[in-house]
């Protein structure tokens, strides 16, 4: 099983393997289903974690995503790629979660404390490795501003931005995943990047 970061560049052989794997899982082969999960679960968890910035919520989305895949796999008809079908499930779950947060205004990622601001994620996840030279270029102040700006995007803008910037999906695929047009996804990305540029313009 081969799964690239974007899920896009897969060899023909790997595609055939995946089709066989899905058919086996549909026929009730538990090992095949588990292999499918292992092929994609890191991407799913990373997407949920990056979007929701909460390990608990990411964990819930992970469970719910693969339970839904398990319960609905027989309805998968190969009309689209498995990756697209899976991402439709996980993005819908994440969007629901983001929208609920907008209503509840709960669990801010960055908390104000007596000692300054504290990122809830800092203690429980790994940001890009410290060995990444890019990271060293940016002060904590800029990272804080980026996080705040990301949190202020609308759920749809946040989702499109996540899929394009961090998941490296092309806008056409993003449109397929979110059930919209490439043009609408492009407009969403445009608004998101405009907001990022406006917020970060003074810092870079």
């Amino acid at each position: 099983m081969v799964h690239q970061r974007s899920g896009a560049a897969r060899s023909e052989g790997a595609h055939v393997d995946e089709t066989a794997l899905i058919r086996a899982a549909q026929a009730g082969d538990s090992a095949a289903f588990d292999e499918l999960v292992r092929a994609y679960d890191q991407s799913v968890l990373r997407l949920a974690m990056n979007l929701l910035r909460s390990p608990e919520d990411a964990r819930d989305v992970y469970q719910e995503t693969f339970l839904r895949v398990y319960r609905n796999l027989n309805n998968f008809r190969f009309d689209c790629s498995f990756h697209t079908w899976l991402y439709r499930i996980v993005t819908n779950l994440c969007l629901d979660q983001l929208r609920k947060r907008k209503i509840r205004k709960e669990e801010p990622t960055v908390l104000a404390t007596a000692d300054g601001t504290l990122d809830r994620m800092d203690s429980v996840q790994e940001e890009r490795g410290d060995s990444d030279p890019q990271r060293a270029l940016f002060s904590g102040e800029i990272r804080k501003k980026v996080k705040e700006t990301l949190a202020q995007l609308t759920p749809r803008e946040r989702m499109v931005f996540e899929l394009r910037h961090y998941q490296n999906l092309k806008l056409r695929r993003i449109g397929e995943v979110l059930g919209t047009t490439e043009e609408a996804a492009k407009n969403c990305l445009f608004r998101a990047t405009q907001k990022m540029r406006a917020a970060l313009g003074d810092f870079v």
């Binding site: 968890l45 990373r46 964990r59 209503i103 790994e126 890009r128 980026v146 990305l189 990022m196």
Partner: protein
């Protein structure tokens, strides 16, 4: 500065703004060949925009720096939780009997639309010819006295959007009507509560009933199945059908029962979500008691933690509002 010079400057500014608006898409490689060509032509002659593009690249790099990646420990916990939940799911699945194999050969999504027609075929023991009767209203149906002495043996989907119900009775008849007919619904409600060891019958019945969950009698049957059915698949279908009625007190009571008593942790997990999410996605504080009690008796780590998180959320929410 002359008028012409000012206009020329405004045109240049517009060109610059138009080019800068495209920078993000340029960096993502999402511009068409022609669009990219126009931006690059402008960059060739505009030093300000070249500097602006460098700033845009810095913004991109800053965004890269906040990407989070889940730790291997979190991934392993997720995999362990999922493995446990899938284990219960697999256990809950019953082996398909002859009827389920037959039913699975028909895709029954077309049963879902409200107002689906129902066709009743009533088994006539030993008879080879069955009189066919069509029923459009409850008076006809009730006149047959079917409800008093019949028992639903089987239900199955028909390609035309109708359902076929086989009843054990002393004679065979075929009746048809809409699912809105009270008598038809009464038969389906009876089938949903059928005590025989035939989960396939009850699962299909529940699925047929779900679009009618707006009616109190149908909802009561779904609640009964959710609370009492021995088969997790049937209970799951009933719970799915009641999702939009999670604010109904009877449904909330059933969900609390699921949370406290259901043997399937997947069911309990879903019950937490439904209990805690009322209309509009806001938390419902009436579930606190059930969640607290579940915390005390829950033996599944994941479900217990989920209860705890939900209680914490409710607490946080009550502090906000």
């Amino acid at each position: 500065m002359s008028t012409n010079e000012r206009e020329e400057m405004r045109r240049e500014e517009m060109k610059c703004q138009a080019a800068r608006d495209q920078f993000a898409l340029l960096l993502y490689g999402e511009l068409s060949f022609d669009e990219e060509e126009r931006v690059e032509s402008h960059l060739d002659v505009c030093a300000d925009c070249r500097r602006a593009l460098e700033r845009q690249k810095a913004v991109h790099a800053a965004m890269d720096a906040v990407e989070v990646r889940p730790s291997p420990a979190l991934l392993n916990r997720c995999r362990d939780d999922l493995s446990e939940l899938l284990g219960y799911e697999r256990q809950a699945q019953t082996k398909p009997g002859w009827w389920e194999q037959f039913a699975s050969s028909w895709k029954i999504n077309w049963l879902r639309p409200a107002g689906a027609m129902a066709l009743l075929a009533i088994g006539f023991f030993g008879a080879k010819i069955a009189p066919q009767l069509n029923f459009g209203g409850q008076n006809d149906y009730q006149a047959m006295g079917l409800l008093g002495n019949s028992r639903v043996r089987n239900v199955e989907a028909q390609p035309d959007g109708r359902v076929r119900i086989v009843l054990d009775q002393t004679q065979q008849r075929t009746v048809s009507g809409t699912i809105e007919d009270q008598a038809i619904r009464a038969l389906l409600v009876a089938a949903a509560k059928d005590p025989s060891d035939d989960p396939g019958l009850r699962a299909e019945t529940v699925e047929i009933l779900v679009p009618g969950a707006g009616s109190a009698d149908v909802r009561e049957a779904l609640v009964f199945a959710l609370e009492n059915d021995q088969n997790a698949g049937v209970r799951l279908k009933a719970m799915d059908g009641l999702k939009t009625y999670a604010h109904d007190p009877a449904v909330q009571g059933a969900l609390a029962q699921v949370l406290l008593r259901d043997a399937n942790p997947g069911m309990r997990t879903q019950a937490i979500d439904l209990l805690a999410t009322g209309p509009g996605g806001e938390l419902d504080r009436r579930v606190i008691g059930a969640l607290q009690e579940a915390m005390g008796r829950e033996d599944n780590t994941y479900v217990r933690e989920r209860c705890q998180r939900m209680l914490e959320l409710i607490k946080a929410s009550s502090e906000i509002y």
